[in-house]
């Protein structure tokens, strides 16, 4: 196992899914801390606050972004995130995670440079470990 991820972030409105992933991360000790947002807007507002130095909190190393969410969905979040990501000093790895197996969603996700990969739910435990591990190596 490589270096541990310091802060992972999940943007997803499915409470059950979020709970389960939280458990996985806890059990496997994949990340020290976990940031959870119910939709794109909450996440975006938080990141903007960090940029304005209005909070002591830090940016996550890795983001898992759901597509279908109320208020601001994954696509809208990506469009907004592009505008501010150059202001970040840290490299953030972003995965789009969705239960959609629609190839159009896959294509659309890949059209964003900042999207590392499109992951289809459910993500197997081993896959989770790999993602966090690879991230550790990359950061090292």
């Amino acid at each position: 196992m490589g270096q541990k991820v310091e802060l992972a972030c999940i943007i997803d409105d499915d409470k059950i899914y979020v709970n389960l992933v939280k458990k996985i991360i806890e059990i496997k000790k994949l990340s020290e801390n976990l940031l959870i947002f119910k939709n794109g807007m909450e996440a975006l507002d938080h990141f903007k606050l960090i940029l304005e130095n209005a909070t002591e909190e830090i940016l996550p190393d890795i983001i898992f972004l759901d597509i279908n969410m109320p208020i601001m969905d994954g696509w809208e979040f990506l469009n907004e995130f592009i505008k501010i990501k150059n202001n970040f000093e840290k490299k953030i790895t972003l995965y789009v995670v969705s239960s959609s197996i629609d190839p159009r969603d896959l294509e659309r996700a890949k059209s964003f440079n900042l999207v590392t990969d499109y992951l289809i739910k459910p993500i197997e435990l081993k896959k989770f470990e790999k993602i966090f591990d690879r991230n550790g190596h990359a950061a090292a």
Partner: protein, 482 residues
């Protein structure tokens, strides 16, 4: 005076043959040219009998004998068109008339035979062509017209008058002939006529005309410039073809196509929802199973059980919702009936009375302009229900919800408007998603994002459309065009 020989040669040049009739014994002798025409035959009977039997077409025998007798007995003049069999064995048209007897000659009469075959044939051709033209015009409902731009006159043929429902003696007014075009077509028609009159550009357009009784119908219209000898444009000539039936069919077909296309996209959407919404629950189940496998202690395992309960509940809810959609769609088979808006609304208000009372909502309805409509009753109730509960759900926190419902008719189309004083929504941001399935814009817990999707489906299934206008913090208006 010309002598016989000179006269003969002139007559021959004009292809005119003649008979001399001895009025005393009724004996006939014919000119050399006549003899040549019929092939110099040899015969034993009298000229007259031979002529009747062999030369004259049988259709004219009776009439000719009658005229001949009257001429010889009562000296009565006549003129008849008849067919003679010539030397080549073919019948040709001749005009036969007797020469006026100037000198009161009681002994001889002269019958002239003038070849009129060519003119007769031209006449037939013209009649024939005219017949075809008329039959074609009537069968295809194509009328001719001419606009004399110089003298400002309009001429219509009978078919044009028929397709515009005008009496046959109707004289179309030059200044007001635009009344025969649907108002929305005026710019197109004006530009077509103007370009043709000024620059000689012909036109061929499909447009909506308006008959004498202001009923609109579709025509295909062509127009071409008419020039005088100096190549100046003096008028426009063309035809109107009544294509209303085809056009209406075409429009219906297009409408059906549109419906099929929307049904298709709905099915696509449905498949997407099934795959997406059901998958999210099944994938959670998979995760739990993995976690159960990983769990080391019984406590860890038991901790996961509430999650299973949640997932199964959500899965059940999702399936019920999908089932709901399918049920709504199957109402399609029901028939339209005359539904009163008042009644539909009171039904909806009765079923939502608890919600209305709880939120202290005020519903104002104005159905004076349009009291009822031919619609599927279940659809109308479902539409009203969805829009009303929607308005109450997204009420403004600072005020009691007021919902204003209104029906009216505009351009012969019925409309229903439902306005509220609620939260409003930023349409620039969410407009295109407004009616999508599972789109929720507010943080309300009970927003499922399915009502508007169903409403849109119902409206469109019956050939209407729904649009929305909204201002954040002021309110929202849904407008349904039936």
């Amino acid at each position: 005076m010309l002598n016989d020989l000179q006269l003969n040669s002139i007559l021959e040049d004009f292809d005119i043959a003649y008979w001399k009739i001895n009025l005393l014994n009724k004996e006939v002798s014919w000119s050399e040219h006549f003899d040549t025409l019929i092939g110099k035959p040899e015969f034993s009977e009298s000229h007259f009998e031979y002529f009747l039997k062999e030369i004259l077409h049988q259709d004219y025998r009776y009439d000719f004998r009658l005229y001949f007798d009257k001429l010889t007995e009562e000296n009565e003049a006549f003129s008849i068109e008849l067919k003679l069999k010539l030397s080549n064995g073919k019948y040709r048209w001749f005009e036969c008339r007797n020469l006026k007897n100037k000198e009161n000659n009681k002994e001889t009469a002269v019958l002239l035979f003038v070849n009129i075959h060519q003119s007769k044939r031209d006449q037939y051709t013209i009649e024939e062509n005219f017949f075809y033209y008329r039959e074609t015009a009537q069968m295809t409902n194509t009328g001719g017209w001419y606009i004399d731009t110089l003298n400002k006159n309009i001429y219509w043929d009978n078919v044009t008058k028929k397709i515009t429902d005008c009496p046959l003696d109707y004289q179309p007014p030059y200044e007001e002939h635009f009344r025969f075009y649907a108002p929305e077509e005026h710019p197109v028609v004006m530009s077509a006529f103007e370009k043709c009159e000024k620059y000689g550009i012909p036109f061929k357009i499909e447009l909506k005309m308006r008959n004498l009784y202001n009923k609109d119908f579709w025509v295909r219209a062509t127009g071409k410039p008419v020039y005088n000898e100096d190549q100046d444009i003096i008028g426009i000539r063309g035809v109107f073809q009544d294509i209303n039936e085809q056009k209406v069919n075409e429009l219906n077909l297009q409408n059906s196509l549109d419906i099929i296309a929307t049904q298709n996209s709905r099915l696509f959407n449905f498949a997407h929802i099934v795959s997406h919404h059901l998958r999210s629950h099944s994938s959670n189940l998979c995760l739990i199973v993995e976690l159960l496998k990983e769990a080391k202690t019984d406590t860890d395992k038991i901790e996961l059980i509430p999650n299973v309960a949640d997932i199964s509940e959500n899965l059940d809810l999702a399936i019920n919702q999908l089932n709901n959609i399918v049920n709504k769609q199957s109402i399609l088979r029901k028939e339209r009936r005359i539904v009163s808006f008042e009644k539909a609304l009171s039904g909806v208000m009765a079923s939502t009375s608890s919600l209305i009372n709880r939120e202290n909502a005020k519903i104002v309805a104005e159905f004076h302009a349009l009291k009822e409509i031919s619609y599927i009753p279940e659809y109308l109730e479902s539409i009203l229900l969805n829009l009303i509960t929607n308005a109450i759900k997204y009420k403004h926190p600072g005020r009691k919800p007021v919902i204003y419902i209104q029906t009216y008719v505009k351009n012969e189309t019925p409309f229903l408007e439902v306005s509220d004083n609620g939260l409003g929504i930023d349409l620039d941001q969410y407009g295109d998603k407004m009616f999508g399935m599972y789109k929720t814009f507010h943080k309300n817990l009970d927003s499922r994002g399915i009502g508007l999707f169903i409403t849109k489906n119902q409206v469109e299934t019956l050939g209407g459309s729904i649009s929305v206008t909204s201002t954040v913090d002021v309110g929202t208006t849904f407008k349904i065009k039936f």
